[in-house]
Assembly symmetry: C2
Homo-oligomer: 217 residues x 2
DNA sequence: CACGGCGCTTGATCCAGATCAGGGCGACTC
DNA sequence: GAGTCGCCCTGATCTGGATCAAGCGCCGTG
């Protein structure tokens, strides 16, 4: 949540927030069909959300970096519609949703912010909905990650992927082999440097050009 | 919006709503980048939303039937992120959003309802995000339409598609030819009967089985 | 009425990416 | 150190759906 609230507002927010964690790699923050009670802000680490279909196969829905909110899509069905899993050591702020909604009714700024967060998620959900090539998807994924890291004050040109290739592939609806091949192609074309999970942008402009149609049209 | 509000609430809602229309086939309700001011409930007809990418190609984002809300995804960027186009004769209720947000702060029921609508859209947006076969997508599309019609009191087993094949194809990220072929295959397999834009379910259970993984895993 | 044009269908070919198969390598255990 | 297990890479083959290319029926228009 952005700063810029006044004293009593911050006070109120402070009361209904609860620090939780650490969760270890592979631990569940919540599971599909758990009753909805709270939304979470990531303080540290990376979270992935996913669903498993009628038997077995996982579908990765998203990754959440420090500063981002998890669980907003649970408000409507009143149950979490997906699993949330720690990809590394994860620390969270837990916001009880009933309390937050009550606060939102008193303080317009909070309500506004919640509306924005929800509305924003609608947009980003449709990001990977288009029929894009593997290159476009991968470029968009990397650029979006870089931008999100940059927004939190980290380097926008070098970062470490906190998820395995298989999760990236699943998220982008590609085969893991394709992810591997596209990354190599990008490196051969001098767009990035790849060293296992470390990514460095070499030609950010070209990457952005590739990603342009995906993010968002 | 569901009924069940008390008198003063209904009164207040009544004040900020405005009937607009008719829009004729092909007319724009709003365009991408128009400043955001209101959300709309469809009273009659069908609306499609779409974006056009950097040059030309359209991407259909959704279809809206009577009783459904258009424009919720505009809250965050504060501009409409897509075009909204009438597919036939369209009648709307226009809700000024600033007024609605103010009202929501006073009346918790309204706020709740808005949260639900927003959260619900996050879920349905990720519906067609999975990597599903043409059959699964098509079945899911038909079943979802039938359910939405049924929820509004229309027949759940026979309805008329208000959009051309090309729009369905675009929405499902398929080629128009594929839509044609899949519909024919469904008819050959005795799942549905197709007569130009009229659809009749013959084996709804089988269709639902096909759609199951898509809606929503 | 003939003429276009558009929406829809059907068949033939093509291709991006899935799938299958195998190999390398770093981390951990015994 | 040898063995094992994940994770990642790379090559060969296969395939679902896109694309290309006609044809067909329907409606509006001159």
């Amino acid at each position: 949540m952005p700063d810029g609230y006044d004293k009593p507002t911050l006070q109120a927010l402070h009361c209904l927030v609860e620090h939780v964690g650490p969760f270890r790699e592979g631990e569940y923050l919540f599971r599909a069909n758990d009753p909805f009670g709270a939304i979470f802000a990531v303080r540290g680490g990376t979270v992935k959300t996913s669903v498993v279909d009628t038997l077995g196969r996982e579908q990765v829905l998203g990754f959440y970096l420090p500063g981002e909110m998890v669980g907003l899509n649970a408000i409507h069905p009143d149950h979490y519609p997906c699993d949330a899993i720690a990809l590394d050591s994860v620390y969270l702020c837990r916001f009880s949703f009933p309390a937050l909604a009550t606060l939102a009714a008193r303080i317009p700024g909070i309500q506004q912010q919640l509306f924005r967060l929800l509305s924003k998620d609608i947009g980003t959900a449709s990001l990977l909905a288009g029929d894009f090539s593997a290159e476009e998807r991968m470029a968009a994924f990397l650029v979006a990650l870089a931008d999100r890291y940059a927004a939190r004050g980290f380097s926008a040109t070098a970062f470490r992927l906190s998820m395995p290739r298989a999760d990236i592939a699943n998220y982008l609806r590609l085969a893991a082999e394709t992810v591997s091949r596209v990354l190599r192609r990008f490196q051969d074309q001098q767009l990035i440097r790849v060293e296992s999970r470390d990514i460095e942008f070499v030609d950010a402009a070209a990457l952005r050009a590739l990603a342009r149609n995906v993010l968002h049209s």
